[in-house]
């Protein structure tokens, strides 16, 4: 049975004060879908647990200055039900809708998915593919912006400092004509950890040249990232078969020797080709 102090601040200010003092021994909890199992299995043994669900400002989807701001305690259900996100960031909605099942999505949060930094996360790779920026606040550093692609340094370990709290996830709206696609492979159709997922964002000009391409596989590497080596093969080019094949092999080559088990390699190649063709 765990023994910890539980604190539930009502404002960001109170949360920051607490973290500036106890941040080193504090675990932040929102929906709890990762933290509660972690506490039960004693993978997490913090002296303090700080609940941020009472800080209303941290939840919500808003537009400001042409960008979309999503609060960290916004649930996956909030995201899935947002018409504004369905229109502007459909990749995020697809990724969020693939998490667990309705009860998990009602509790799980986008901030949690990022902060837990599981190699098998479904939403974090989509957030990276969309080039999001993470707003972090602390007493010691004030407000700083961290690019989503730099947020995770190792499985289950973010670059966030112990006294920092994630206060917003900021997305630029995608230019007209940008397409995106997401696929998740799992052992069963709900309540399943990703065996693999793939996020792709692509924009082509009228003559078919690919002007923007982002490829982020999830649950294949220790830390999800844009596989720029594969993106470069197709950037500025038309999507011809030989280039697609070359990009596929480059993607596979980038994975080898890192983390991916042998049996996932053919699946990665197949899924990449079909997700890519769905956005061409």
């Amino acid at each position: 049975m765990q023994n910890f102090q539980f604190y539930s601040p009502k404002s960001i200010e109170d949360a920051l004060d607490f973290l500036s003092d106890k941040g080193d021994s504090c675990k932040i909890i929102a929906g709890g879908t990762d933290v509660i199992p972690g506490l039960r299995l004693e993978h997490l043994c913090p002296a303090h647990v700080m609940n941020i669900l009472e800080i209303r400002k941290l939840r919500g989807i808003t537009e400001e200055n042409g960008r979309i701001r999503i609060g960290p305690t916004t649930t996956f259900t909030d995201i899935v039900q947002s018409d504004m996100l369905k229109q502007n960031l459909p990749l995020l909605v697809e990724a969020a809708s693939s998490v667990g099942g309705p009860p998990i999505r009602n509790r799980g949060t986008i901030g949690g998915n990022i902060s837990t930094a599981s190699p098998a996360a479904d939403v974090l790779p989509a957030v990276i593919a969309l080039g999001a920026e993470l707003e972090l606040q602390s007493r010691s550093r004030g407000t700083r912006i961290l690019h989503a692609g730099d947020a995770v340094e190792a499985p289950y370990k973010t670059q966030f400092n112990p006294d920092e709290i994630l206060t917003g996830i900021l997305f630029k709206k995608l230019p007209q004509g940008t397409k995106s696609a997401f696929e998740k492979i799992a052992q069963r159709n709900a309540m399943a950890r990703a065996y693999m997922n793939l996020s792709i964002v692509l924009r082509a000009t009228d003559d078919g040249n690919i002007s923007d391409l982002r490829i982020v596989p999830g649950a294949v590497e220790a830390v999800a990232r844009r596989v720029t080596a594969a993106e470069k093969i197709l950037l500025g080019q038309k999507a011809e078969k030989n280039l697609i094949d070359k990009a596929t092999e480059t993607l596979a080559a980038e994975m080898v020797g890192v983390w991916i088990p042998e049996y996932k390699m053919p699946v990665l190649r197949n899924v990449f080709k079909r997700v890519l063709s769905s956005v061409l």
Binding site: I185, Q187, R188, A190, R193, Y263, V267, N270, R274
Partner: protein, 327 residues
């Protein structure tokens, strides 16, 4: 590429413990003064609905409404031993004990009704006892019950039923293995994604010979539950251990099918009554699960021309076999 296939699995299954292992049950039926009935059974209903069918059997035999039967079950202090809820035996063995106890009590009631009505060709129906030949000669069951009480008669009976078999010859395997057998066939249609190894079961059709479905809804529910277990067995459930430690030690790791993984299950109840079963009934508990995995694996083979010999047919297993085949 998505490939579809259809496969069939067939089974027969011995009901009860068989092979001369002791297989007995008992039940008590008591007629109360007001015509309601108390039934006692040691059997545990763990969701398959044995409580329901015991009340149905006694109600049917005594011509009463189902809600007139009060069941006391699985109380080690007050209920007679019915043996375990296992081996798909409960309907067959304890159901028979119920029937025997109900008939025993009926044999006390009948002479009294004959005396009162002056007829001996009686039928118990619609909460009454009446003469078959002269239906206007009838009396309420509750009145008959009261009369029996007033006369101080034996209106509580405990009956035993024994299906223990003789056993088979140890050399030839021939003889008397089980008291009876249930039969079933299931058909599965699957779609396999050869790019990922994912198997979807599109349709599952089950036909089960249960002798007699005392409660058809319960039989369907049992079939559906068994099918879900069979689907998990075939596709999603895997136990892994390392150095004696169970790695798949939670429902997060050991993945059973969710509602999103299961197709609509079409159940067909086949009734070929067995003379030794209560109202001709046999068992369906385990049979519901048995043909499912074979049907699914045969469907996968039909789709891919690949024989799976190692379960589950999960993503890794299938992808490895597909790669080996050179898809």
């Amino acid at each position: 590429m998505k490939k579809r296939g259809i496969g069939v699995g067939c089974m027969f299954y011995g009901i009860g413990y068989g092979f001369s292992r002791q297989d007995i049950s008992s039940a008590t039926v008591e007629i109360c003064e007001d015509g309601s009935v108390i039934v006692r059974s040691g059997e545990v209903d763990f969701g398959q609905g044995s409580d329901t069918i015991f009340c149905q059997i006694v109600a049917e035999e005594l011509g009463l409404r189902y809600d007139k039967i009060q069941l006391i079950a699985a109380d080690t202090f007050t209920t007679p031993n019915a043996g375990p809820t296992s081996a798909s035996r409960v309907t067959y063995v304890t159901g028979n004990a119920m029937l025997k106890a109900a008939r025993a009590v009926k044999s006390t009631l009948e002479p009294v009704a004959t005396e009162i009505l002056g007829e001996n060709d009686l039928v118990f129906v619609n909460e009454e006892v009446r003469s078959k030949a002269h239906p206007q000669k009838r009396m309420a069951f509750s009145k008959l019950a009261k009369q029996c009480h007033l006369r101080g008669l034996q209106i509580v009976e405990t009956a035993w039923y024994d299906i223990t078999t003789k056993d088979v010859d140890k050399e030839t395997g021939q003889g008397d293995a089980y008291a009876t057998y249930s039969y079933a066939s299931q058909l599965a249609e699957v779609e396999v994604d050869t790019q990922t190894g994912k198997v979807e079961v599109l349709r599952l059709i089950a036909a089960h010979d249960v002798g007699k479905a005392i409660n058809p809804s319960n039989v369907e529910a049992q079939i559906e539950g068994g099918v879900v277990q069979g689907l998990g067995f075939a596709i999603t459930e895997k136990i892994t251990q390392e150095g004696g430690y169970l790695k798949t030690n939670s429902l997060g790791e050991y993945t059973i099918p969710t509602s999103m993984d299961v197709p609509v299950v079409e159940s067909h109840i086949v009734e070929v009554p067995v003379s030794t079963g209560p109202y001709g009934a046999k068992g369906v508990g385990e049979p519901a699960l048995i043909p499912t995995a074979p049907a699914i694996l045969n469907a996968i083979c039909n789709a891919l021309d690949i024989r799976i010999t190692d379960l589950p047919a999960d993503l890794e297993n299938l992808m490895r076999l597909i790669q080996e085949k050179g898809e």
